[in-house]
């Protein structure tokens, strides 16, 4: 049976029974159809779901979304597209739960934009992605957004089209929101040319070391910041500013410039294999714990989080 279309339902669950009922039904029917199946949900849900699926565990790949999808910007390229590419030629069925109550207000817009952009990236692909939402613990705003980002919703076992679902790029644009201000105490490096890159790298590395970031994480943060600064140098003659500061649980780093990042999918979809550049944001997404972008004509701010 050909099912060459993309299905992206949101599943609102009120308790573990509803969660397991909705998710296991999805997995059993996908396994029966011969799909490649991935379950990427937060650890607290992963354990009971894995237990419930013990009899088909051989046919399912499991991942903890708080690790694999810690950075919501990484989920499309690093989890969903990567899984589809590894199973080219087969329909893929994925449970992806990217939003949980502990997602911070800084993280959340990148999560909601991710949910909207799935619709663009997977349009026309032979795939299904079921996104469970905790209807009890998530606040109403976040639940309302789920109706905007999913063409179909499942509530109380019933599946119905969402009346609030609209153009995914327009929906993603709703989450292109200003970032909290950079704190006054941040270390700041202004830059304009490639001659400044080494100085940016050494200053971010020094800050990361003082803040106690493990060496591997510091290396990755330096690599990500360098990519963002290179983009600024390539596309905005006026240069930009790198700011670094410590927040609870992670180091934050922001690159500001006066450019406008028009492509909302930048960093979420790999460029064609033959293209040498254009991977800076993608790399930042894969390496960092959060990449938040606020862009508008005349200014772009990209914030990175890197936890120890």
């Amino acid at each position: 049976m050909m099912r060459a279309e993309f299905d992206h339902p949101g599943l609102l669950y009120r308790d573990l029974d509803e969660y397991l009922a909705g998710t296991t039904e999805f997995v059993y029917s996908a396994v029966a159809a011969g799909d490649a199946v991935l379950v990427a949900v937060p650890g607290g849900n992963l354990a009971p779901l894995r237990d419930s699926l013990a009899d088909v565990a051989d046919a399912v790949i499991f991942a903890d979304m708080t690790v694999a999808g810690r950075n919501p910007g990484r989920i499309i390229p690093g989890v969903l597209l990567a899984f589809a590419a590894a199973h080219a030629g087969r329909r893929v069925s994925i449970i992806g739960e990217p939003i949980w109550p502990e997602r911070s207000d800084v993280e959340y817009p990148a999560c909601a934009a991710h949910e909207a952009l799935i619709n663009s990236v997977f349009a026309g692909r032979d795939a299904a992605i079921l996104c469970p939402y905790d209807a009890v613990r998530l606040d109403d705003d976040r639940l309302r957004d789920a109706w905007r980002t999913h063409p179909v919703m499942i509530t109380g076992g019933d599946r119905r089209p969402s009346p609030w679902y609209t153009d995914p790029l327009a929906t993603a644009a709703r989450f292109n929101q200003p970032l909290p201000p950079v704190p006054a105490g941040a270390a700041v490096v202004r830059f304009a040319s490639v001659r400044d890159l080494a100085r940016i790298r050494s200053s971010v590395a020094a800050y990361a070391e003082r803040a106690g970031l493990p060496a591997a994480r510091a290396d990755d943060l330096v690599a990500a910041v360098n990519e963002l600064a290179e983009n600024t140098i390539l596309y905005t003659p006026a240069g930009g500013v790198v700011s670094v500061w410590a927040e609870a649980g992670h180091l934050a780093c922001q690159v500001d410039d006066d450019g406008h990042l028009a492509d909302v999918l930048a960093g979420r979809v790999p460029p064609a294999a033959h293209v040498e550049g254009g991977r800076g944001l993608l790399l930042a997404n894969l390496l960092c714990d959060l990449v938040r972008i606020h862009t508008r004509p005349g200014g772009t701010s990209i914030r990175l989080h890197m936890a120890g």
């Binding site: 040319s193 490639v194 001659r195 890159l197 080494a198 790298r201 591997a216 290396d219 990755d220 330096v222 690599a223 360098n226 990519e227 290179e230 140098i233 390539l234 294999a273 040498e276 550049g277 991977r279 800076g280 790399l283 894969l286 390496l287």
Partner: protein, 284 residues
């Protein structure tokens, strides 16, 4: 940085002050004479330069008489055919390198004053390409060069494109004890190339030219090729992509050795794990 340069280096030297230019030249020429290099100066003011260097205490008469130091105007070097032909110029550097070695020198040390390129010379538009491709000569490890660009003669945009074609750039902000940003030197034991320093947007075109032609520039008899990255402190995603392009076409015989965990993650990001036969060895 001028006195840190050694065989294999190719630095873009941006100057906007004649006194500093002369001091750079004096340092660079003196080091070459001391290191038993043949020193070639291609630029304007050949007669005056000897006198200016002498005024700084560097007597070059003996070196000129024994053929260790040679000077020529741009019209007699870069533009000898009436226009700038990059391929001919690159071939010229190769043969100058061979003749310096044949004459018993340790290598060829060049100075190119590129002020002529600010004039409407046919072929001058090929300069960024030339500056990238000529790295293949210096990557052999028997030659080195500084290219003098006068900031007063070139636009910022033109200078930027030219700088990116050099592994290293020296300007008024460069510390005297700074090392060149990147070194890419081909090796014979084992055959391949050794990358040192930082590979980023500032030298991407230089790295690309050397890596793209690594196979072509290595003797045909050679079997496996080793890319030694143990002294590569930093590489951006595009630099690792350049390396991966060579790795993909030569996977059956390419070894990447001395790979730090950070570089390994970048190689993985660029698809190294999907290249069958590619060997990547971690740093010791």
């Amino acid at each position: 940085m001028i006195d840190r340069l050694r065989l294999g280096d190719h630095a873009c030297v941006v100057v906007d002050d004649d006194a500093i230019r002369l001091r750079y030249l004096a340092t660079y020429v003196a080091a070459g004479l001391c290191d038993n290099h043949r020193v070639l100066y291609f630029g304007p003011g050949v007669e005056r330069l000897s006198a200016d260097l002498a005024a700084l205490g560097l007597d070059t008469l003996a070196a000129r008489e024994r053929g260790q130091l040679r000077m020529a105007t741009p019209e007699d070097s870069y533009l000898a055919s009436g226009s700038f032909d990059p391929a001919v110029t690159i071939a010229g550097w190769r043969s100058e390198t061979e003749s310096a070695l044949a004459a018993g020198y340790r290598g060829m040390r060049a100075i190119g004053d590129m002020s002529w390129a600010a004039r409407p010379v046919p072929g001058a538009e090929l300069l960024p390409w030339y500056e990238a491709q000529v790295n293949r000569v210096f990557a052999g490890g028997d030659a080195m060069a500084i290219c003098l660009y006068d900031r007063r003669l070139f636009t910022d945009t033109a200078l930027q494109r030219i700088c990116w074609s050099h592994p290293a750039t020296v300007d008024h902000e460069t510390g005297t004890d700074a090392e060149p940003a990147l070194r890419a030197i081909r090796t014979t034991h084992p055959p391949g190339i050794r990358l040192e320093g930082d590979a980023d947007l500032s030298n991407r075109h230089a790295l690309r030219a050397v890596m793209e032609h690594l196979v072509e520039d290595t003797p045909a008899s050679v079997g496996s090729l080793t890319v030694d990255v143990s002294r590569l402190r930093f590489a951006d995603a595009a630099a690792m992509r350049i390396l991966m392009r060579t790795a993909t076409t030569e996977a059956h015989r390419l070894r990447v050795v001395g790979c730090s965990p950070a570089l390994r993650r970048l190689l993985t990001f660029n698809g190294a794990d999907a290249v069958t036969g590619l060997t990547v060895e971690p740093a010791a």
